[in-house]
């Protein structure tokens, strides 16, 4: 891909990504917020493809935009909540202090990023980020965390069933 096309594609994905991420907070209806988050995950998958992380981009779409967001939508519709029932967000002194902390964090990281040398990306081989390459590293260097993840998912399944049961 030419450099020009890569820069154009970066902005094509980045700007809608920020808009839809902000839409999660702006939306009055939780269903609209969830759909905005789905859009954000799709644009983020596009950014991942630009970073030649093909496997993670597909997992992002299948697991995040598919499985996890269906779970969110299911719970939203099960509880059928609207912002009218919840009332408007109250801005207490602690929340303003927290937002000031966020602004401080943004300032520190922006200073850190702007002072870095702006290194360019290294050129990578054709198999970088493919299922084969990532699968090999998962099953060699990261075999123990990989197996631990399967136990974690089992615990989460049992935990979700137990917590949401009517009588424990």
């Amino acid at each position: 891909m030419s450099d020009k096309a890569e820069v154009v594609l970066f902005w094509v994905f980045a700007v809608p990504l920020i808009v839809s991420a902000a839409g999660v907070l702006v939306a009055r209806n939780p269903v609209h917020a969830a759909m905005s988050l789905v859009a954000a995950f799709f644009f983020l998958a596009g950014i991942y493809v630009l970073l030649t992380a093909h496997l993670i981009a597909f997992i992002q779409v299948i697991v995040y935009a598919g499985a996890i967001m269906v779970l969110f939508l299911f719970v939203i519709m099960l509880l059928s909540l609207s912002d009218e029932e919840l009332g408007v967000d109250r801005m207490s002194a602690m929340k303003w202090a927290g937002l000031a902390g966020v602004a401080g964090l943004v300032y520190v990281v922006v200073r850190a990023i702007s002072q870095s040398s702006g290194q360019m990306m290294r050129t990578v081989g054709a198999d970088y980020g493919t299922v084969k390459a990532v699968g090999r590293i998962l099953f060699t260097q990261y075999l123990l965390p990989f197996e631990a993840t399967s136990v974690l998912l089992l615990v989460a399944i049992v935990g979700a069933v137990v917590v949401s049961k009517k009588r424990i």
């Binding site: 890569e6 820069v7 970066f10 980045a14 990504l17 920020i18 991420a21 999660v24 907070l25 939780p30 969830a34 988050l37 954000a40 995950f41 983020l44 950014i47 991942y48 992380a53 496997l55 993670i56 997992i59 992002q60 697991v63 995040y64 499985a67 996890i68 969110f72 719970v75 509880l79 909540l81 912002d83 919840l86 009332g87 967000d89 109250r90 927290g98 966020v102 964090l105 943004v106 990281v109 990023i113 702006g118 290194q119 290294r122 980020g129 990532v134 590293i137 998962l138 990261y142 965390p145 993840t149 974690l152 998912l153 989460a156 935990g159 979700a160 069933v161 917590v163 949401s164 009517k166």
Partner: protein, 101 residues
């Protein structure tokens, strides 16, 4: 070629939006979605640095982050349903049973 700083700045914006949502929103489900945004911002940073250094370890970490996020969403949403059953609300500032009177 897009320099790594662009991706880091994008991750910063995503993380700030998510953190702001966690602090401001009252609906526990929206707070949860904001946490997912923050996890994704961290993933983006991992992948950007992995691409910059030509190392695949960042991809493995991003894979684990997504797996943990799936587990966390399943348990967290179950907790939200349990809280709604027992208290009839999911407003995070009304669920304060552990606060002393």
């Amino acid at each position: 070629m897009v320099p790594v700083t662009h991706y880091l700045a994008l991750g910063l914006v995503l993380f700030a939006i998510g953190l702001g949502g966690v602090l401001v929103k009252r609906n526990a489900i929206i707070v949860f979605m904001s946490i997912e945004l923050m996890l994704n911002a961290a993933n983006l940073t991992f992948l950007a640095f992995a691409r910059q250094s030509g190392n695949l370890s960042g991809h493995a970490i991003a894979f684990f982050v997504i797996a943990v996020a799936a587990a966390e969403a399943a348990v967290g949403l179950a907790i939200i349903i349990a809280v709604y059953r027992s208290r009839g609300t999911v407003a995070v500032d009304e669920v304060d049973g552990l606060r002393d009177a």
